[in-house]
């Protein structure tokens, strides 16, 4: 299914070009913004190179964990159009199918994301030996939290046919709170402490700073992330099952 979805790039070469152009444009604009802020703000306040490296890493990681909630959007669309019924009558998992389809469609983003992470590591210094013990738990947290966000937002489609903007609303919230617009280590300490109590930093920020190399998460924050990951995964699957039951009763 993933390979089938990726075939569209062959049919429309403009899609490859525009996919690459989109990523380059975004990186370029954010990079330019931070360079201008770094250059024209009081000395020492902002290190543009540090932030550009961080930005490359965190946005490069996004497609690997579906943190743009594209799977959620696709699930909402499948429910709204009735395409989910076709998945349900086949011997395939209705949760995994959008994942496979999205991976195929995301091929350009995944390739460019990998390149971004490599360049970001090169720019900012990269993974250090002290970060290695954190790697497995932080990776697990990131994967579990993003999976549960995608399932949970996707399940909104079972309860309202107009869930597309719900996904957008959540994405806007997550983008700032997980440190994608601005690194959390640059925020005011009391605000950063409050953020660490939410599931968002563990959903991407912790992994980004591990690859960035200049900062490490605290074990307490990683533990909070693990608690959130377990709880949200449980809740999201429950909500999905509840929605699916409702859909099977009236949807097919």
């Amino acid at each position: 299914m993933c390979w089938f979805e990726a075939q569209r790039f062959k049919a429309y070469p403009f899609e490859i070009a525009s996919g690459i152009f989109s990523r380059v444009a975004e990186v370029f604009l954010y990079g330019a913004f931070w360079v201008v802020v770094g250059q024209f703000s009081p000395p020492g306040a902002i290190n543009a190179q540090d932030i550009v490296g961080y930005y490359l890493i965190i946005t490069g990681l996004t497609p690997f964990f579906y943190s743009g909630f594209g799977i959620a959007g696709m699930t909402v669309d499948m429910i709204r159009t009735g395409e989910l019924s076709q998945t349900l009558i086949r011997p395939i998992s209705p949760i995994v199918t959008p994942w496979a389809m999205r991976t195929g469609r995301n091929l350009i983003n995944l390739s460019f994301g990998l390149l971004q992470v490599v360049v970001g590591i090169f720019v900012s210094g990269g993974l250090r030996s002290q970060a290695l013990p954190f790697l497995i738990p932080v990776l697990l947290n990131t994967a579990a939290l993003n999976a549960s966000f995608n399932i949970l937002i996707g399940a909104v489609g079972f309860f309202t046919t107009d869930g597309r903007n719900a996904k957008n609303a959540f994405l806007h919230l997550a983008t700032f709170l997980r440190g994608e617009k601005m690194p959390i280590y640059l925020m005011e300490p009391h605000f950063a402490h409050i953020l660490m109590l939410t599931p968002f930093p563990a959903s991407l920020y912790h992994l980004a700073i591990l690859f960035h190399g200049n900062y490490l998460p605290e074990w307490g924050d990683v533990a909070i992330g693990s608690l959130w990951a377990a709880a949200l995964l449980f809740v999201s699957i429950k909500v999905w099952k509840l929605g699916l039951r409702k859909y099977e009763a009236i949807g097919i």
Binding site: S18, P42, D162, A169, F191
Partner: protein
């Protein structure tokens, strides 16, 4: 006179049809309001955290930056609902063949397409709360704006929207050649992802790139800079207005080229 009245009546009918279609999805409408409120709240938090860190940058105080952000959002909403959506509709109707029907109608085709495609209901009702909150947060008394700078700034802002229209049309153009432009058109989100940069402080190549690729920098950065008298007002306005006029000629030529291309293969 009767032609003008007929034009208005047609435009109103197309407008009303689109507004009805938007109102049909009321859940999406409310989530849309919520989405914009959240986006703006998050951006305000971003500005708050940024200024807590830097104090000021490039001559912009926090209040100036809020004004820049308001200018940016107003322009973005107009480009998004008034330009991007009609282009999205253009791509759809070319793909499903309905463009033929539009060409058969005795109406000014391009104007009709824009009016029918824009989302007035969403533009007014979902964007208004966010814009009102932003306007409320600005301390208008401390902004350095004169009537002249405001007018010149409005010229720059409008020119930015005109340039944006040309760029978005170029992004939709592949549909006439290859049969699809969904992804090329989606790059609109990337090229308008951030424009809150003071135009005169940008390096030369980025100033040029703003004129031909990143119109949001003109709409936000250049327009607010001129309004706040932080740049060479006459120089910046002349340059950007000239580019806007050139872009109007360019978009007219491209429209004719697209029509020629479409009519030669579709019938």
């Amino acid at each position: 006179m009767s032609n003008v009245l007929r034009g208005f009546s047609l435009a109103f009918a197309a407008f009303r049809e689109q507004a009805r279609a938007e109102k049909a999805h009321i859940g999406n409408f409310w989530f849309g309001v919520l989405s914009k409120l959240i986006y703006n709240t998050m951006f305000l938090l971003f500005i708050d955290q940024l200024y807590a860190r830097v104090g000021h940058f490039a001559g912009y105080s926090k209040n100036d930056f809020l004004f820049l952000y308001l200018t940016s959002q107003l322009g973005f909403y107009i480009c998004y609902y008034g330009i991007f959506f009609p282009m999205q509709r253009l791509v759809q109707i070319v793909r499903n063949g309905n463009f033929d029907l539009l060409l058969l109608k005795p109406v000014p085709h391009r104007s009709f397409m824009y009016i029918q495609g824009m989302q007035p209901y969403d533009l007014i009702f979902t964007a208004a709360p966010s814009v009102a909150i932003l306007a409320f947060l600005i301390n208008w008394g401390t902004l350095q704006i004169t009537l002249g700078s405001l007018l010149l700034g409005l010229v720059v802002w409008t020119s930015g929207i005109v340039i944006c229209n040309t760029i978005v049309f170029v992004l939709a153009l592949p549909v006439f050649k290859t049969g699809d432009a969904t992804d090329t058109l989606s790059t609109f989100y990337s090229i308008s992802s951030i424009g809150q940069m003071p135009y005169s402080h940008l390096p030369g190549f980025l100033k040029i790139a703003a004129l031909v690729v990143f119109p949001q920098i003109i709409i936000a950065g250049a327009a607010s800079e001129v309004m706040l008298m932080k740049a060479d007002m006459i120089g910046v306005t002349t340059l950007i207005a000239t580019v806007a006029v050139v872009s109007i000629f360019a978009v007219n030529l491209l429209w004719r080229y697209a029509l020629r291309n479409y009519t030669s293969v579709s019938s």
